[in-house]
Amino acid sequence: MKGGYVGKLLFVDLTTSSIREEELSFDLAKNFIGGYGIGAKFLFDMMKPGVDPLGPENVIGFVTGPLTGSGAYMGGRYMVVCKSPVYGGWNDANAGGYFGPELKKAGYDGVFVTGAAAKPVYLWINDGNVEIRDASKLWGKDAKEVLDALIEQTGEPKLRAAVIGPAGEHLSLMAAVINDGHRAAARGGSGAVMGSKKLKAVVVRGTGEIRVADRQRLSELNKAIREAIANPPDNVFGQYVRGFANLGTGSTTTPSVLSGDAPVKNWGGIGIEDFGVERAKKVGNQSFNENYFVKKYACAFCPLACGAIYRVDGGKWPLGITERPEYETAAAFGPNCLNDDVEAILKCNELCNRFGLDTISVGATIAWVMECYEKGLLGPEELDGIEAVWGNAEAIVALTEKIANNEGCGKILALGSQAAAQKWGKGYEYLQTAMGIEVAMHDPRLNPGWARVYQYDPTPGRHVKGGAASVPLNIPDRGKVDVAMASNFEILSSAGLCQFSMFAFPKGAIKELLEAVTGEGFSEEELFTAGVRIFTMRHSFNVREGLKRADYTISPRVTGKPPLPQGPTAGVTVDNEKLGNEFYATLGWDINTGIPGKDTLERLGGMANVIATLYGG
């Protein structure tokens, strides 16, 4: 293609220290776009089913999209792909910041790492030169400290790195991949996969140019996007843009708690009653932003800038410079633990960023501990003397520290709530998980479509997988709407865009950006099909692992079984079987087994290996 792609992928085997390059073919790029798509295609082809996710045969990929670093607004994403050590199936996660664009400038659309090193290493990709380097001196450093150490070791102040903190080294199943010190490809245990390979960091620096087919058109499109963001419409989408630009994703925390969108008290409470208006306001960014705000933070090429740098100088947990927590983090450590201590939330956010942990899973695991504590299943004996009473901010910070340092009860909790329930042999009934991973902080009892996303996406429990989360259930063609939304998210993510482009961009901008940057025409139909193809490829990875529809489980409370007795979502039970049936049927998958039909795969095209694997020949 004329632009967007570098056209090269890098493959590294850490067992044999071998390094090779491969050209990215036109067909592959057109069929699978980038990121999740190219990642899923390669992992399906490279891996055998049944391998240990924490063994050398797992492959971890860091993959960009054609828009990443192209100059297209909001195009700064890269995606981490691997087999998940949490649920033994497909895993992907994405992050913004500046790593993705730099990887491309350094010469590659993506890097796939297999094998395992005997001692800690990092990958140094410097303008097309690739080295596997000793990381013994970096092992043990947190995700911020390690950046300074890397700069010192390489003498390159402008490097970018995707790293693990101590949590990944300890193989915590909640371990994230962190870049730029605080942007996290957090979910599904990718950090543990890096740790199992003794891969501390993928470090990149490049001066290469990312080609753009039609720069004039790109700048026109960017101008339209900038104007749309500067003058958001007065509807819900516009409110998001305005809210995120002013106060970040946590601009929504207060209304989310009160509307029933944010889970409260490990999903058992009611926001307006158990947390109340004043506390809901206290944990919302609107109330505390001015206390800690230093300046705004934006990922590469982003005019929206939903991030912020904070400073916490006094109080119980002085942090100095830190970052503003995202909505998910504030909800997980806040109302879901009945906690309204903002500085405790800031502290837990900082701990998770430094140690490389997924804030959703850590916060949700602590909420589970608190419910077990209340019910008398766990006590100070199991919890190293910590009194895990609802809302006890000190206890929340202490438990996060235990998890971060992998000590005492933290050794067990670092494996996530499900593994902890198994280890202690109790508390199963209070788990709020989908296929074993803690579900994200949007409640399907308010917007039932979340249940479909949480339960039936190939990466369960996520809030970043689109789907028709907030579309009413009883509309005709519900399945079609859901599939269209799922496809859309696959495309924008795989293209390298931030998902907030969904409501910040003028209509049709994604397709036009792809065309301007790559110089290739994409019809609406082609893009829709590519999105479904990517979704199906991710799902097929799970099918090959032997995961059937029945394995896609979700905790009953999350879907309102039993329903809440009061509050805005009183009486709601989500019929997720039905949502799943409609979704699978629309995709052309068997609604009982979840296996995609052969004719469906043939119609999608580009799925030869999947057809051969699932149907022989």
Binding site: Q239, Y240, N246, G250, P255, A331, P568
Partner: protein, 87 residues
């Protein structure tokens, strides 16, 4: 029929300072027997906020969940929660 004027207090829980309403709490004069729906229509028209009329937000009257048909009385506190769900 002559209907008495009643005043209700409206609190808006928005994701951020809404362009149209500077203050978070406003007092609104309604007629006796008016419902939440009347209030929303009024606010929607007055401040040009489209979401208010959509019925997608969550509405509480005196901290209890209310519907469009819930009648409003003097001194009632109406809480309008924006339908937005976090990021």
């Amino acid at each position: 029929m002559h209907r008495k004027i009643v005043e209700v207090i409206v609190r808006l829980v928005l994701p951020t300072c809404c362009k149209m309403i500077e203050r978070e709490t406003i007092t609104v004069s309604l007629k006796e027997g008016d419902t939440v729906e009347t209030l929303l229509t009024m606010l929607g028209a007055k401040y040009g906020i489209s979401w208010l009329g959509e019925g997608t937000g969550v509405i509480f009257v005196n901290q209890k969940k209310a519907g469009l048909e819930t009648p409003l009385n003097r001194g009632d506190e109406v809480l309008l929660v924006h339908p937005i769900g976090g990021g």
